[in-house]
Amino acid sequence: MTPFEEELKQALQRQEPGGDFTARVLARCAAEDAKKRSSLWHSFWTAPAWRVGAVAAALVLVAGGSAYEQHEREVKRETRGMEAKRQLLLAVRIAGTKLQEVRQRVKESEQIEQ
């Protein structure tokens, strides 16, 4: 590699994303998994042949279920919050861009008039 290429390599060193990146990715994946599980869960409960056994199983699950539900709620809140943030930044970006375009067009039309 030439010295110039070494400089280029130095200049293009990787950057880290924001501090909570991994947590956000995992929250999103967990939310997706929860959605899949709940649709499986729903079809389990509505299948008639399983209902008797399911009632017994449900009693066992309730005991351990509340901790899981709490975790699910937190994951859902975090997912919802992160999604709201994404939407917010998207909206701000669009609004900011449009206003800049307006300024540009006003300037262009003033220049044409001159």
Partner: protein, 186 residues
């Protein structure tokens, strides 16, 4: 028949063994987040957009986790998906944050003597390269990939990769030479 069956079984076993070498998904995200984010950044030059794109890549990985065959395949997959998504996203945005080479600010006399300025100047010039050249430069010099690997990720011939790198370096050298003085270009 027996030999074919043995070969197929060996192949499946080898795949399973390779898959067993895959670290857990959270660890994969932590290990490779800088790589994916940086590839996105080189095309989008927008922290928010690069972060979103990087998240999308890992989300897609999570959905396709069962198809990842080995740690090497994982790396290839991440680079390929990240690069292609970044290129698509940049095309859609028309790279608003890019700075045209011609518009790059003239450095002051004092700045010319500092290598750290050269680094940031180079970054800005890479950002202004046409898409194909930028892709190969990023994969070659940020990701340290071999030409054959770059060719596979970008679905190009190796010769095209060589050509694009060569042209990009020529362009970059020329600009550095004119702006910062010939002594910086070797």
């Amino acid at each position: 028949m027996k030999a074919a069956l043995l070969a197929a079984t060996t192949s499946i076993t080898a795949t399973r063994e390779a898959q067993a070498e895959l670290p857990p998904f959270p660890s994969v995200v932590e290990t490779h987040k800088a790589m994916v984010y940086s590839i996105a950044w080189q095309f989008l030059h927008d922290r928010v957009a690069a972060d979103e794109l990087a998240q999308d890549v890992f989300f897609q990985l999570h959905k396709n986790w069962a198809s990842i065959q080995s740690p090497a395949h994982l790396l290839f997959w991440l680079r390929k998906v990240a690069t292609h998504r970044a290129i698509d996203a940049a095309r859609k945005r028309k790279a608003k944050a890019e700075t045209s080479l011609e518009e790059t600010d003239e450095p002051t006399v004092l700045e010319r003597v500092h290598d750290s300025f050269l680094a940031s100047y180079l970054k800005r010039m890479v950002a202004s390269l046409p898409e194909k050249q930028r892709s190969v430069i990023v994969l070659r010099y940020q990701e340290d990939m071999e030409l054959e690997e770059i060719a596979k990720v970008l679905s190009m011939n190796v010769s095209t990769v060589k050509t694009q790198i060569s042209r990009a370096l020529e362009l970059l050298r020329g600009k550095v030479s004119r702006r910062l003085g010939k002594e910086n270009v070797r």
